[in-house]
């Protein structure tokens, strides 16, 4: 009977350990801090650093997009919060937007961020911020996608009259 309970305990504990190892190899954390953050995400206790998020929002509104992105990346180090990823994508959009041309590199990075936000969000992602002109992730994604596509419309001189959203 005692041997049976040792077998059960051994099997259960080592199965948990094996699952943790598979998870570590699948997520490939780069430091102990990332291991801890990843564990919080897996356990559902992960939260964005609200102070850093607000600081980034202030920078974003002052049009200091790179600094804002840095802060947001620190606030959401696991890249697991859809709202933060939406804002990061928006900052790429605003920084990459130009009256004559769009910065392709920034728009592509923005597209990656918005795709991440959409994948993380359980439903359609909407951000109620009156300072933004696009509130849904779908709108922002469409805008970023249009910016990365090459069409005949790009040579239209009236393009300079467009406004940034």
């Amino acid at each position: 009977m005692q041997q049976r309970s040792i077998q059960i305990i051994g099997l259960v504990l080592s199965a948990v350990y094996a699952t943790a190892i598979i998870w570590i190899y699948a997520t490939e954390p780069r430091s102990f801090k990332e291991v801890a953050t990843g564990a919080q995400v897996a356990a559902g206790t992960y939260q964005v650093d609200q102070e850093k998020f607000n600081a980034a929002l202030t920078l974003f509104r002052r049009e200091q997009f790179r600094a804002a992105r840095d802060e947001w990346q620190r606030a959401d180090s696991a890249q697991s919060d859809p709202k933060t990823q939406f804002y990061i994508a928006y900052s790429f959009y605003r920084e990459g937007w130009g009256r004559v041309y769009y910065d392709q590199v920034l728009f592509k990075q923005g597209l990656e961020a918005i795709n991440r936000a959409i994948a993380l969000s359980p439903g359609p992602l909407t951000v109620a911020d009156e300072n933004l002109q696009m509130h849904s992730a779908a709108e922002l994604k469409a805008e970023l996608e249009q910016g990365t596509e090459r069409t005949w419309g790009d040579v239209n001189p009236l393009k300079v009259l467009r406004t940034r959203k």
Binding site: Q3, Q7, G10, S14, Y17, I21, E28, P29
Partner: protein, 228 residues
């Protein structure tokens, strides 16, 4: 309860603890650490899953364990055992298999010609050993030498040759070897911690093998020191 009965009960309990708790944990730790490297640039963790060749080497090594009598499959998995015991033994063997693969992963160079040279020598040695007569003790000694040599070559000799903070002579030799072989002998630079992790991993792996040998093969009065 007589003293003999107490001793017999304790032996049974210890044997169960080693087989069903300690060994899977040791081997799982080897699985975790065997693929872990620490980057030389930013000290970040790099996790390398076992490559196909390490899985092949692990299969050969397990066959060698069975041939050498280190593992007695017939007594571990048999219809006479309770189902839970069979499951626990299969689980232990599974962890052993992946631990073998990760032990190889730990001492194989990560890429290039050296990776294939090391793999070839391992394959050659294990294949030859399939046709030699072995007992568990000799097999363990042979494995200590095999893994020890590979560890010394990879983590001392090669790491020192390609180290960025070595002497100018070492750097020159490394650069010469790299340029003469057109980068075929190139090796990624890892932090010194990688060598320590590998050493610890191999130590745990060999300790696990010794415990298997001790619990399955040796008479009750034989110590681990005798096994070595």
């Amino acid at each position: 309860m007589s003293d003999e009965l107490v001793i017999a009960t304790n032996k049974l309990r210890n044997h169960a603890l080693v087989t069903y708790v300690v060994l899977p944990f040791l081997f799982l730790t080897v699985i975790l650490l065997g693929g872990l490297r620490v980057s030389g640039d930013d000290r970040a963790f790099i996790f390398l899953p076992p490559s196909l060749v390490t899985l092949v080497l692990a299969v050969l090594l397990l066959l060698l364990f069975v041939r050498g009598g280190l593992i007695e499959i017939r007594s571990l998995i048999t219809s006479a055992n309770p189902p839970l015991t069979n499951v626990a033994h299969i689980w232990m063997l599974l962890t052993l298999f992946f631990a073998c693969a990760q032990a190889f992963n730990s001492v194989l160079p990560e890429r290039g010609l050296l990776h294939w040279l090391f793999s070839f020598f391992f394959l050659w040695t294990l294949w030859n050993n399939q046709f030699s007569s072995f007992d568990a003790r000799r097999l363990l000694r042979s494995l200590v030498v095999l893994f020890g040599t590979a560890f010394l070559l990879k983590h001392l000799l090669l790491a020192s040759l390609y180290s960025s903070d070595g002497s100018w002579l070492k750097s020159l030799t490394g650069a010469l070897v790299s340029s003469v072989t057109l980068g075929a002998l190139d090796s990624p630079q890892f932090a010194p911690a990688t060598g320590y992790i590998s050493f610890f991993t191999l130590g745990l792996y060999l300790l696990g093998l010794m415990l298997i040998s001790f619990s399955h093969q040796q008479p009750a009065n034989t110590s681990i020191v005798d096994t070595l």
